[in-house]
Symmetry: C2
């Protein structure tokens, strides 16, 4: 008896269904057009390794990438998901035990060095610095998720983060967005087993917190979910960091 939906299917997915450049936010569009020639295509499932010798910094233009480590005994941990606009440093080809970048969908990436070279270099460069900062901040969120949240909280928390990030690049429509991830991938990111991810999703659905249909996710009552899952959007975090005035408490 089907419980009515999966988290998604990656490999067989028709490309460009969801993350075409057309959806890219303004600034990035121009940025990318200018350096279109430097864009490199990576097929789903492939590793993103350095070309010849040393490491390099790349920017995701379209598609989903995961930052992963495989343990010697086969266990796998996904550190982060990289979406269009995100930055990452490519290490060596991902040996067991070291960190690697794996394309979860068909992906387009650009070399950061190339992007910062042009005339807009200054601005792009600043943008990349910020992307790096955000990435680190998300690593901390990830640690909290797997270190201190329950399965339900982890799933919700991650989905809420993905919502915000996808929303920022225009990939959310009516509280709904595509998550081209296998439940197994989800499990490896959240430090849970596939089976448990499956059951947790079912429970969340039964409780009406979200809807999942073939890789399309809808979050209901995001505010409630956020407080339930200890989720703080990045903008909220920024606000708390800079409480303009120490006094004057406000309701809500």
């Amino acid at each position: 008896m089907s419980v009515s939906g999966s988290l998604g299917v990656v490999s067989r997915e028709r490309q460009s269904t969801f993350a075409g450049l057309s959806d890219f936010r303004q600034m990035d569009v121009s940025r990318v057009r200018t350096f279109w020639r430097t864009v490199e295509r990576i097929p789903a499932g492939a590793n993103i390794a350095e070309h010849d010798g040393r490491k390099r910094q790349v920017v995701v233009v379209s598609g989903w990438v995961s930052e992963t480590r495989i343990l010697p005994d086969g266990r796998r941990q996904i550190f982060a998901f990289l979406l269009p606009g995100d930055v990452a440093t490519v290490n060596a080809s991902s040996h067991v035990g070291s960190r690697g970048l794996v394309a979860l969908t068909n992906v387009e990436i650009a070399d950061a060095a190339a992007l910062t070279a042009g005339e807009q270099g200054e601005r792009v460069s600043a943008s990349l610095v910020d992307a790096v900062r955000q990435r680190e901040e998300r690593l901390f969120d990830q640690i909290v998720r797997i270190g201190r949240l329950t399965a339900k909280e982890r799933v919700l928390n991650l989905l809420l983060e993905l919502y915000d990030r996808l929303d920022a690049i225009g990939l959310v429509k009516e509280n709904t967005f595509r998550v081209p991830l296998t439940q197994e991938v989800f499990a490896d990111a959240l430090g849970l087993s596939v089976v448990h991810i499956n059951r947790t999703l079912q429970q969340l659905r039964r409780e009406g917190m979200l809807t999942v249909d073939r890789g399309t996710v809808t979050l209901h009552q995001r505010h409630k979910l956020a407080s339930f899952a200890c989720y703080q959007s990045e903008t909220q975090q920024a606000l708390e960091r800079q409480p303009r005035r120490a006094g004057g408490h406000q309701q809500d």
Copy 2:
């Protein structure tokens, strides 16, 4: 019936017992002496906040610091431990929900900006850049620990990391080192409960993998432990990243 040992006691510890500057590694000694006047003392348990306004980068000179986040419901997650020589960026005063630096022992810190200002600035600066890189690498290790390792593995893995880091700054003698941490702190770092940390330590002791006596830890057969706990020292990681020759496999 006492099982014979605790992980350690922090607050009441006589200061300077273990991490005096005298133990500091060469390069750092000179670095610190030159800027001695810029050193700031933080008492155990205190927060390390920014002084007046903006964020700043600080270097730990002596003592242990934790990078922490407190969740709205009281749960706590420790992201990392900072030892002498480590770098961190100070955010705003640690509100609930945001990241904060907490001194676990009496601590001495220096302002990174001040350190890079002097004549040796160039060299120091490079050293700091590397420290930042190492710190990030350790965040990934932390994610693997709490995401994919069992309790026993987590404890060992963390102790092995601490061993290497303390060894690098001359704070290990005969496989033994001081860990001025409460079991509760350990628990919050490893995403476990205090009770379970306690029992796990006992188990590890019974199995002869380590010895703990009043905050002094000794690891037995580090190599075996390392393989058991999926631990890779940083130097090992670096080696795998740069396999000089692809061929020529070696035994061991």
